[in-house]
């Protein structure tokens, strides 16, 4: 992918460093100033696209950016400044009401309670029953920024774990990566779903259309995954992902079937119903539970990681639903006005 367009002073300065080799001094000054002025990092487009750019250097990189910049100390300094504030905001925003003992059963039980399915209308039920074709496309665009590299942020944690938790994480990730069959990698199945709706499945193709909150979900995973200090948080995060997957994916599949999409297109969702019923047990018990038992000092971060996942999922769902209820697109305005995505007149949606 190419470096996406910037969204403000910080990302513009960052883009100059990445594309033209500008010295990052000015960037760090701008980051510092932005962090004083910005209240809510999760909703800030300029900060979140900047963080996305900085993290992507560690994943697939950008075609138009020098790979050597991955370890540029000034860029890492800018990233660290943003991360410190993001972590601080997440720690104060999440509510952890469970206080289990550091045993496998107690920790898994607490995580299952934190992620218990709720009754009543929710995001996935909207998708199952009411979403129209354009809303399904938007859903895939939002998801694509993580799902086209599904499992990668948690894979960073493998060398930071030992024993039972490590074996558990590897077992889950093997399944995510298709058990040796590339065409069954979850990211490949998601790409197939996107193609089923006529969407481009190149990684990052739609990133310019994604709002800050969507990027914040991925950036949070990258932050947890890339810091050994936060290995408890990435373990808890994965447990929460797996524990909130089977039932919503069944409902997403229903939504796509309702609008006539074929089984190749819904395979991604169908696969997750069964796979994640397995993964939630392994991630809850053998990864998060066993990690807490072996390293009780990580227990709080395990719960923090899980709660952060739930918070960001909730914020993203709220963003999509409230846009749709107002008859609007959940994608970024700037992009829509450039006409690169199909738009409809206000009032079209009846969700």
């Amino acid at each position: 992918m190419h470096l996406p367009p910037s969204r403000g002073a910080v990302s513009a300065a960052l883009a100059s460093c990445l594309l033209h080799g500008d010295e990052p001094d000015a960037l760090n000054d701008l980051v510092e100033a932005a962090l004083v002025l910005v209240d809510d990092l999760i909703a800030d487009d300029d900060i979140q696209i900047s963080l996305f750019m900085l993290y992507e250097l560690h994943y697939g990189g950008f075609d138009d950016v020098d790979d050597a910049l991955e370890w540029n100390p000034d860029l890492l300094r800018a990233r660290a400044r943003i991360e410190a504030r993001l972590e601080e905001q997440l720690r104060s925003a999440v509510s952890v009401t469970e206080h289990p003992l550091p045993t496998v059963d107690a920790v898994a039980g607490a995580l299952f309670r934190m992620t218990a399915p709720t009754a009543g209308p929710g995001f996935s039920r909207h998708v199952a029953k009411k979403a129209d074709e354009q809303q399904l496309r938007e859903l895939l665009l939002h998801r694509s920024i993580y799902q086209l590299k599904e499992a990668d942020p948690h894979t960073w944690a493998i060398p930071r774990l030992r024993g039972v938790p490590k074996a558990a994480l590897v077992e889950v990730q093997c399944d995510e990566y298709g058990n040796g069959r590339p065409e069954l990698m979850h990211s490949a199945l998601f790409a197939q779903t996107m193609r089923g709706l006529g969407l481009n499945d190149d990684y990052g193709h739609y990133v310019d259309q994604l709002p800050a909150v969507t990027l914040a979900s991925l950036n949070t995973m990258s932050m947890f995954g890339l810091h050994r200090r936060l290995r408890g948080a990435i373990a808890g995060h994965l447990a929460a992902i797996e524990m909130t997957s089977s039932i919503p994916n069944r409902l997403y599949g229903d939504g796509f079937r309702r609008l006539g999409h074929d089984s190749a297109t819904t395979l991604y969702f169908d696969e997750h119903v069964e796979a994640d019923a397995v993964h939630e047990q392994i991630a809850g018990r053998d990864l998060a539970g066993a990690l807490a038992a072996a390293s009780p000092e990580l227990l709080d971060d395990i719960l923090f990681g899980a709660a952060s996942c739930l918070l960001l999922d909730e914020l993203t769902a709220q963003h999509l639903l409230s846009a749709w209820r107002n008859g609007e697109s959940s994608l970024r305005q700037a992009e829509r006005s450039r006409g690169t995505t199909r738009t409809r007149a206000p009032g079209h949606y009846h969700g």
Binding site: D105, A108, G109, F112, A116, P117, V170, E171, C174, D175, N179, S246, I247, R250, V273, E274, A275, D276, A277, V278, E280, Q281, I282, R285
Partner: protein, 74 residues
């Protein structure tokens, strides 16, 4: 992950399915064997899965409990 050779591990998960990992086949009672789909499977034991014999997470909606079963030796 490479398939285990020999040992089969069966894990009754509290309030949930039975995890089975190792070298095994799921054989249909009257028909062909069931494609297990992945090396480790979760078999439904609440009886309410729509994808039997596999767990599909329904036990979490219905509040299935396994409180009164004996704890297996570890």
């Amino acid at each position: 992950m490479a398939e285990h050779t020999g040992d089969v591990e069966i894990v009754p998960c509290p309030d949930g399915p039975v995890l089975v990992r190792g070298s095994f086949a799921i054989v249909g009672a009257t028909g062909p064997s069931v494609d297990r789909g992945r090396p480790t499977v979760a078999l439904c034991r609440c009886g309410l899965s729509q994808r039997k014999p596999f767990c599909d997470g329904t036990h979490r909606i219905t509040g299935f409990r396994t409180d009164d079963e004996p704890t297996p030796l570890s």
